[in-house]
Amino acid sequence: MENRPLEYDYTVAKMFMLTTIILGIVGMLIGVILAFELAFPSVNTILGSGLAEYTNFSRLRPLHTDAVIFGFTLSGIFATWYYVGQRVLKVSMAESGLLMFIGKLHFWLYIVGVAAVVVSLFAGVTTSKEYAEFEWPIDIAIVVVWVLFGMSIFGLIGIRREKSLYISVWYYIATFLGIAMLYLFNNMEVPTMLATSPAGETAIGNWWHSVSMYAGTNDALVQWWYGHNAVAFGFTVPIVAMIYYFLPKESGQAIYSYKLSLLSFWGLMFVYLWAGGHHLLYSTVPDWMQTMGSIFSVILILPSWGSAINMLLTMKGEWQQVAASPLIKFMVLGSTFYMFSTLEGPIQAIKSVNAIAHFTDWIVGHVHDGVLGWVGFMIMAALYHMAPRVFKREIYSKSLMAAQFWIQTLGVVLYFTSMWIAGITQGMMWRAHDEFGNLAYSFIDTVTVLHPYYAIRGVGGLLYLVGFLLFAYNIYKTWTSDKEVDAERLNQSPMGA
């Protein structure tokens, strides 16, 4: 056996790093525009009334959610998989021509899918189901992309040298299986072209149009089983996969507890799927399902905090690194926001709290402290860790990283505090009755009162976007720097090179 570390091939990882950054900018920029549209409605016609159809809030909103979920986050998941996978399985993509081909095909089909999604959502072609807006032809393309991702995962596992699967691989496998199951069942639809022959025509109307396989309450039930667990398997599971790899690598510390990892992993797998019902409290779905949704949401604190505490305790005795390294800061604050968000969610899932919180901006605030503070921070930290190793260059500027950290942290804090106040204010005003038992406020009163909070939220979002642009610049300068560093950087333990 040769006595040198393996060389890994990061071609596909690099491609997905690029889309992580580009789609991140697009998704967050649209988000900032949306925030200002709510604060200042004239922004809806920012490109003139002729283009208002394409710039107004309702048309852009699915573009924002899908760009950050299926653009930024998913690219980040893919980029880290094509980096972490090789390293923890001790096998290079270059060793298999087939796997390399699958990886590249995965990327290019993903790009085709993204383009189709952008065009269709701008045109208003949507099924209306949140985070599952795509019509059936795009659904099929997404399934193909996902199968290629699965082939990459299991292909690499198939030729691995390290026989034991590291914790991160568990989470990547779960991401693949979870999203596959959820996406397939939620997108069951009947293309209208299948039924137009009785009228003597081959196709009537838009060929891409379809009708959901489920109606009304059932449709809602399947949608929120999907919607909630897309959060689970898109925003939680793969991000935990990342932190289990990148935090120990960056800090040089071993994972605090293997048993806690086991408990959190299997606990998360079992509990998460039950909790979807908390999106449907006081709706027309049966009471027992609503109660199950509530109860399991509270139980979900255990496995979520299990992972987060495991991460924080991994830093035991090494807390000076948090002060010294902006990269560690991102990950430690990320786990903290994860704890925060996974406590806030269960609180909102308690029925009496949900009665106030549901339909308000508090929910929007909850989503964003999770995605900005946890998902965003972790993906950026992962890319910062990967960049020197992938591009073989030192990070361009550490002080820029630190500046970015504080700007974005301030942005997140402004975002969720303003949305808390907005949500609870509106929830209380909706239910307020006067001394005669009549409603105390008309609906518009509960909208105009939110203006200052919407403005603050817009500023918070803008700060986060500015930080993200600094991140993009930093990575770009790292990538294009002249100085090549040949040796692997420090902190190769505990997993080896």
Binding site: A215, W225, V447
Partner: protein, 230 residues
Amino acid sequence: MFHWLEKHPFFFAVGVFVTIAFAGLIEILPNFAQASRPVIGTAPYSTLELAGRNVYIKNSCNACHSQLIRPFKSETDRYGHYSLSGEYAYDRPFLWGSKRTGPDLMRVGNYRTTDWHENHMKNPAAVVPGSIMPAYNWMFTNKADIDTAYAEQLTVAQFFSVPYNKPVPMKDGSTKVVKMGKSVAEAHALALEEAKKVAADMKDQDVKDAVARGEIPEIVALIAYLNSLK
């Protein structure tokens, strides 16, 4: 056991899948047998209403408006009777929404008129001072897609036995027949007939002229849909 699983990816994946699929089986499947039966008074959407519903979806109205009235006094005071499962029997997809930036629309047909919607869609802040809803002027010129709505009717009639051209029971004991055309031409004729009734209550001369010419602007279909929400 866990150590063994970590060395056997296939069985590991099977284990994960069983663990995550379990909840869906127990929680979701039982409800399918009963939840989709319509309550008395719920009728399928007409061609024009369905075209309007597709305009609603195309513009993601559900991003800001819910169609779900929760059983609280504050909600029933504001929006009317709380929602019943069977009222959604013909909703594919469901449009409950998840955020009320604007008010609930489940029963908006009970308390808003064609005239109100027309003015409001042109300039929301003129009708409701302080409104942050944008104007939807393009709906007055874009044409509603009657063909696709008709294709959707054919699909739900064939695959989900939605009762078109059949009597459905109403609350007052009478029955109602929602007609579906036998051909594209007939579907257009039915939709136009309905559109003329809506346009008669509207002020916009261009819309009136278009309907007189046999065209149906999106706004007419949308208002027909909103008026049907009761």
